[in-house]
């Protein structure tokens, strides 16, 4: 019984990344856009972990931890922006902010 081929894992990471990208492009609700960005970051992390597991080195997992840190910081700022957006426009439609009047 051999371990999983690296290509299959990378195909999985690519598939999840494309799904997240499709979510960002399709949805107009800001909460969905933020969730899709999380999916994309997670997919990038999967690619790192698979590459690290291929050679049995811890570096891939360390890159995943950094991605996790970045995702946590990004989502906290993004959700705070979302709350401000909702108080200002009373909607979650991203198109409501297409004109930046300052």
């Amino acid at each position: 019984m051999t371990s999983v081929p690296m290509e299959h894992g990378l195909v999985l990471a690519g598939l999840l990344f494309v799904l997240g990208l499709a979510g960002v492009l399709m949805r107009r609700n800001i909460v969905f856009i933020l969730m899709s960005i999380e999916i994309m970051l997670n997919a990038a992390g999967i690619a790192f972990v698979i590459a690290g597991a291929r050679w049995g080195q811890p570096d891939g997992q360390i890159m995943f931890i950094f991605i996790l840190t970045m995702a946590a910081a990004e989502v906290s700022v993004g959700l705070a922006l979302l709350l401000q957006f909702y108080h200002k426009f009373k909607t979650l439609d991203a198109d409501a902010a297409r004109t930046m009047r300052g």
Binding site: M1, T2, S3, V4, H8, G9, L12, L15, L16, L19, G20, A22, G23, M26, R27, N29, V31, F32, L34, M35, S36, E38, I39, N42, G45, I46, V49, I50, G52, A53, G56, Q57, P58, D59, G60, Q61, I62, F64, I65, F66, L68, T69, M70, A71, A72, A73, E74, V75, S76, V77, L79, A80, L81, L82, L83, Q84, Y86, H87, K88, L92
Partner: protein, 173 residues
Amino acid sequence: MNAVFYLSSFVAVLSTLMVITRMNVVHALLYLIVSLLAVALIFFSLGAPFVAALEVIIYAGAIMVLFVFVIMMLNLGPQAARHERQWLSPGIWKGPAVLSMILMAEFLFIMTKGYHVGSVLTVEPKHVGIALFGSYLLGVELASMLLLAGIVGAYYLGRRDDDGRAQRSRRLK
């Protein structure tokens, strides 16, 4: 371990597909949590138990709780009770429950078959920790500064707008 990998990949892709096609935010969050749990099982089957635990604790735990809190804050209003009744309608939970049951079965399979199934090369948490606080120490410091910036930014942006406007106008006078 191969079967575990392919089955949880299937669950992950399926639930991610459900996330980006749901109309209701809370339903999408349910599927997103299932997707993250599936990814955690993928990590475990690839021989990375430490990041599998981190995925569950930080992604499926902390970040998703942030999302849930914000969604709860946005729905303060008279229609909140009606939404609550809609969200609790039977049938919505069936999809995530079935997918979670698949993951639970895989988890039980791993636990009963033992930790090292197959010839998976496992990178132990000890090696990850040694490398993280050894050669990647600068990265850890930078990550801590990024988190500090995230805290300050979220605190600044999270204030109510009327509060900030009053302060700004006071400063102008």
